[in-house]
């Protein structure tokens, strides 16, 4: 491994995402490389440094990152932008001493909880590259604005650094600017012309799964593949089955040669329903906010835990990437009725409904967003039979047994609506149970999401969202 360490000496990072309004943190690998290259050019560094930079840009995958948690500096009134007025100096005519115009400027800043960031490449740099990288690192004085002073160094190759952000184009929830072969030459040309560089290569990253010791994992990987809706008419939760079926069909149709793995289709090779965990297609609605109306903001694919990355690429690669390896939009439609254009969600600040943690944050209490469809009808002469069936449903869904369950017609989550406002789940035949109800479940220990329960759980029914109770941290 080759590790670069960065220590932010002021305990904060000052750099913009290009908008000059929003901070950019963690530092993108492309930005760090530009800082190294700038140090090399500014000091007219030697050929060994150049070779070291070329070695970095030739690495087949971008580095993983270890990044502390952080908090953005903002205006004390939430809707205001933090701007300061600086006196301008670049006007051609004589400017009055007393009336020099001032220009609003932002200095987007984040406060770090911990002052070190690490970039970890999997490859081992040869010794001459290591020596040059170490020398180059000591020349880097800032990453971002001039007030974002840093100390940088080459890490010990034997030191193990656990990454918190992993380079993963497939299961990513954000994109960072990275480098590629030729980046150094491009920067050299731009530097010689005295212009500002712009890196256009991006790569997907995701949080490394780091469950706390007491968190109980669910059957699904918390790295949901989230798709934001780009275009299409507004549809509510009552369209769940139409949306999820369309998404599933699109995933199947994209497969080359029609060979669909069991973990994706949910069918065994003989065509019978699979008994193993398989992919779930779920709606992501706007709920649990004051004005929430339950309209579907995007969609997600939840994968069963433990599927190897190669398998995932084989199964979903064609849906999400084109033949050149670039991201492609996903089109869903239903004859003349509606047509949706979806794309992978990679924004730094997506809406709450499209954030992974909204649906997967470990929690002891979960409430249904779409009603849970029971596996069989409750007996009328058996009190609490609904709850008994629900307990069984959680077990079938490979989740721990809740400490308490409350079945109710209306979800406590604003926007989720009445259980009867959702169409009955008819998949599998009309003879199967169609009884559906909203549920609030409380577990002994926090459970990692996503939580999907009941007969329609692979099609978006029985979708739960974590809720917090007094005394626990809010997810908002």
């Amino acid at each position: 491994m080759t590790v670069l360490g960065i220590r932010y000496l002021m305990g904060c990072a000052v750099s913009s995402d290009g908008t000059r309004q929003n901070p950019e943190f963690p530092p993108h690998p492309g930005r760090v490389f530009m800082a190294l290259a700038a140090a090399h050019f500014d000091t007219k560094g030697d050929p060994q440094e150049k070779r070291a930079l070329e070695w970095l840009e030739s690495q087949p995958t971008p580095p993983n990152l270890r990044v502390p948690e952080f908090s953005p500096r903002r205006a004390s009134r939430p809707r205001d932008v933090l701007e300061t007025y600086v006196p301008v100096n670049d006007q051609g005519s004589v400017e009055a001493l007393l009336n020099r115009t001032r220009q609003a400027r932002s200095f987007p800043t984040v406060r770090l909880f911990g002052d070190k960031v690490y970039l970890v490449w999997q490859g081992d740099a040869p010794e001459d590259v290591r020596v040059a990288l170490q020398r180059l690192c000591t020349k880097v004085t800032r990453i971002g604005h001039s007030s974002s002073v840093v100390q940088m160094w080459l890490g010990d190759p034997t030191e193990r650094v656990e990454a918190t952000l992993l380079a993963d184009n497939l299961l990513s929830d954000r994109k960072l600017r990275v480098i590629e072969p030729g980046t150094l030459s491009y920067l050299e040309r731009v530097f010689a012309l005295g212009k500002f560089p712009r890196l256009d290569a991006w790569y997907g990253y995701r949080q490394a799964s780091q469950p706390a010791a007491e968190v109980v994992p669910g059957p699904f990987d918390p790295n949901l593949i989230i798709l934001q809706k780009l275009e299409g008419r507004s549809l509510g939760l009552e369209s769940t089955l139409r949306l999820t079926s369309a998404l599933r069909n699109a995933a199947m149709a994209a497969l080359p040669n029609g060979e669909c793995p069991e973990w994706l289709s949910g069918h065994a090779p003989d065509g019978t329903p699979s008994l193993k965990p398989h992919a779930a297609f779920i709606p992501l609605p706007f709920v649990a906010a004051e004005w929430a109306d339950g309209h579907v903001v995007g969609m997600a694919i939840a994968l069963p835990s433990g599927i190897p990355a190669q398998e995932i690429r084989r199964g979903l690669g064609a849906l999400l990437f084109d033949s050149a390896g670039d991201e492609r939009d996903v089109m869903l439609w239903e004859k003349q009725e509606w047509r949706w254009q979806l794309a992978r969600e990679t924004r730094d600040r997506p809406p709450t409904a499209l954030r992974r943690e909204t649906w997967t944050r470990p929690s002891r209490v979960w409430a249904s967003v779409t009603p849970v469809v029971l596996h069989h009808y409750p007996k009328k002469n058996r009190p609490e039979d609904v709850e008994r069936i629900l307990f069984d449903a959680f077990e079938s869904a490979l989740l721990p047994k809740p400490r308490a369950i409350s079945a109710r017609p209306v979800s406590p989550l604003q926007g989720a609506g009445h259980a009867k406002s959702m169409p009955e789940f008819l998949e599998g035949g009309a003879a199967l149970c169609r009884y559906q109800t909203h549920v609030v479940a409380e577990f002994e220990k926090p459970v990692q999401g996503p939580v999907l329960v009941g007969r329609g759980r692979f099609r978006g029914y029985g979708l739960f969202r974590p809720i917090w109770i007094t005394g626990e941290a809010s997810d908002e």
């Binding site: 360490g5 220590r7 000496l9 002021m10 305990g11 904060c12 500014d42 000091t43 007219k44 908090s71 953005p72 500096r73 903002r74 205006a75 004390s76 009134r77 205001d80 932008v81 933090l82 701007e83 300061t84 007025y85 600086v86 006196p87 100096n89 670049d90 006007q91 051609g92 004589v94 400017e95 009055a96 001493l97 007393l98 009336n99 020099r100 609003a104 200095f107 800043t109 984040v110 406060r111 909880f113 000591t138 020349k139 880097v140 004085t141 800032r142 001039s146 007030s147 002073v149 840093v150 100390q151 160094w153 005295g194």
Partner: protein, 398 residues
């Protein structure tokens, strides 16, 4: 913690080596005592800059608290420059200065204080210096001085060192001098800010301006163009002319905090990028001597501004809980060596560094370069004062 005195040989070694820089983190309290109310800097629309931090509370638990920026990086740089200027005025320190002398400008309503390279916002590159002239009438921007410094860069910072070394410490961007907006550009080596930690906001402030004359709101006034007024005839209330009791209400009512923290970093890496060829020849001895001077100058700014007292604005005066200590941040993970020095010691350190640099062949301007504003700059100042006075309803000076 073992704290040593910082001598020139230690500073020179640090500059010549690989240490990242010096850092000082100091806790401050309001002058009126812990928990006293202070007023942080406000930004556009009167907001504060807020952030979260994690600290260990009295129970030993890590907790997330609200913090407010009291003094920004830019403001702290200005205070460093003003502290250096004050030391120069008290004859404690000698630095190159370029000054624009407004004392001979006539026809001003209010005299304008002389502006030095330590006062003006953009230092040597400021428009005020650009639009001033040498005693012989040569415009500063066309003078040999400007021709030299405007061609400066990291590889030849000698001219800036000679005329305005503080520009190399606090940063400078001479943007107007070259097409395309890029010019002599030097990143700052001195970064400092003050943050209030674990803050409680005082939400609203109410009060009255009490009129000792007891002017009554029932007496009507009529304003006249020359700023005076007739009494008893108009509809203007006395409060509109700032007489009478005037209530006020403000949402910026200050904060209380557990403590304020001043963090200052002097980046030796930034200084190491600078080179000082003399008469076309560059040597590492001269480069390191020049960088050592600048490091000492940065320390002067940090130490002297602390000793001057942290009176940031009205009702925002802070005092340190302890003396400032400077860590030398060297090898990652290694324990930092720490140093302490007072105003006299840091000035002596600077003087020793300057002397060593001169012995190596690198000198700076000894005499203050005095400019005067061009006719048009002086006229614009005069007219601007007239325009401002008219807005307030004051009479003409003519």
């Amino acid at each position: 913690m073992c704290v040593s005195e910082l001598k020139l040989d230690v500073l020179s070694s640090a500059v010549a080596g690989s240490a990242a820089g010096f850092r000082s983190i100091t806790r401050l309290q309001p002058l009126e005592g812990p928990g006293g109310k202070i007023f942080p800097a406000t930004y556009a629309n009167g907001v504060y800059a807020v952030e979260k931090r994690r600290i260990v509370n009295d129970k030993g638990e890590e907790t997330e608290v609200d913090c407010v920026l009291i003094d920004s990086v830019q403001a702290q740089s200005n205070r460093g420059e003003l502290a250096l200027k004050a030391a120069i005025e008290r004859n404690k320190l000698s630095l190159p200065l370029v000054e624009v002398d407004f004392s001979a400008v006539t026809g001003l309503r209010t005299p304008v204080e002389n502006q030095t390279s330590l006062d003006v916002p953009h230092r040597l590159a400021d428009a005020i210096l650009r639009d001033s002239e040498l005693p012989d009438g040569t415009r500063f921007s066309k003078s040999d001085y400007a021709k030299r410094w405007s061609r400066s860069n990291l590889w030849d910072a000698t001219a800036v060192y000679e005329y305005c070394p503080t520009a190399l410490v606090f940063g400078m961007w001479g943007s107007p001098e070259k097409p395309g907006g890029l010019g002599a550009k030097f990143e700052r080596a001195y970064v400092s800010e003050i943050i209030a930690v674990d803050v409680e906001r005082v939400e609203k402030r109410f009060g009255f301006r009490i009129d000792p004359l007891g002017s009554s709101k029932n007496v009507g006034l009529k304003e006249k163009p020359d700023g005076s007024f007739d009494v008893g005839t108009g509809k203007t209330r006395p409060s509109e002319l700032n007489h009478g009791n005037i209530p006020f209400e403000s949402t910026n009512a200050g904060i209380r905090c557990r403590y304020a923290e001043q963090a200052t970093v002097i980046s030796l890496g930034a200084l190491r990028k600078l080179r000082f060829p003399v008469n076309g020849n560059e040597t590492s001895a001269v480069n390191e001597a020049g960088r050592t001077v600048l490091a000492a100058l940065a320390l002067c700014a940090g130490v002297l501004s602390s000793e001057a007292g942290t009176s940031l604005r009205s009702r925002c005066q802070l005092v340190p809980e302890s003396e400032r200590v400077w860590e030398l941040i060297d090898k990652p993970g290694a324990k930092a060596r720490t140093y302490q020095l007072n105003g006299e010691e840091v000035i002596a350190l600077l003087n020793a560094a300057v002397k060593a640099a001169e012995a190596a062949g690198l000198s700076w301007m000894k005499q203050k370069l005095v400019l005067k504003p061009t006719k048009e700059l002086a006229e614009l100042v005069r007219q601007s004062q007239e325009a401002a006075a008219k807005e307030k309803g004051e009479g003409d000076t003519k």
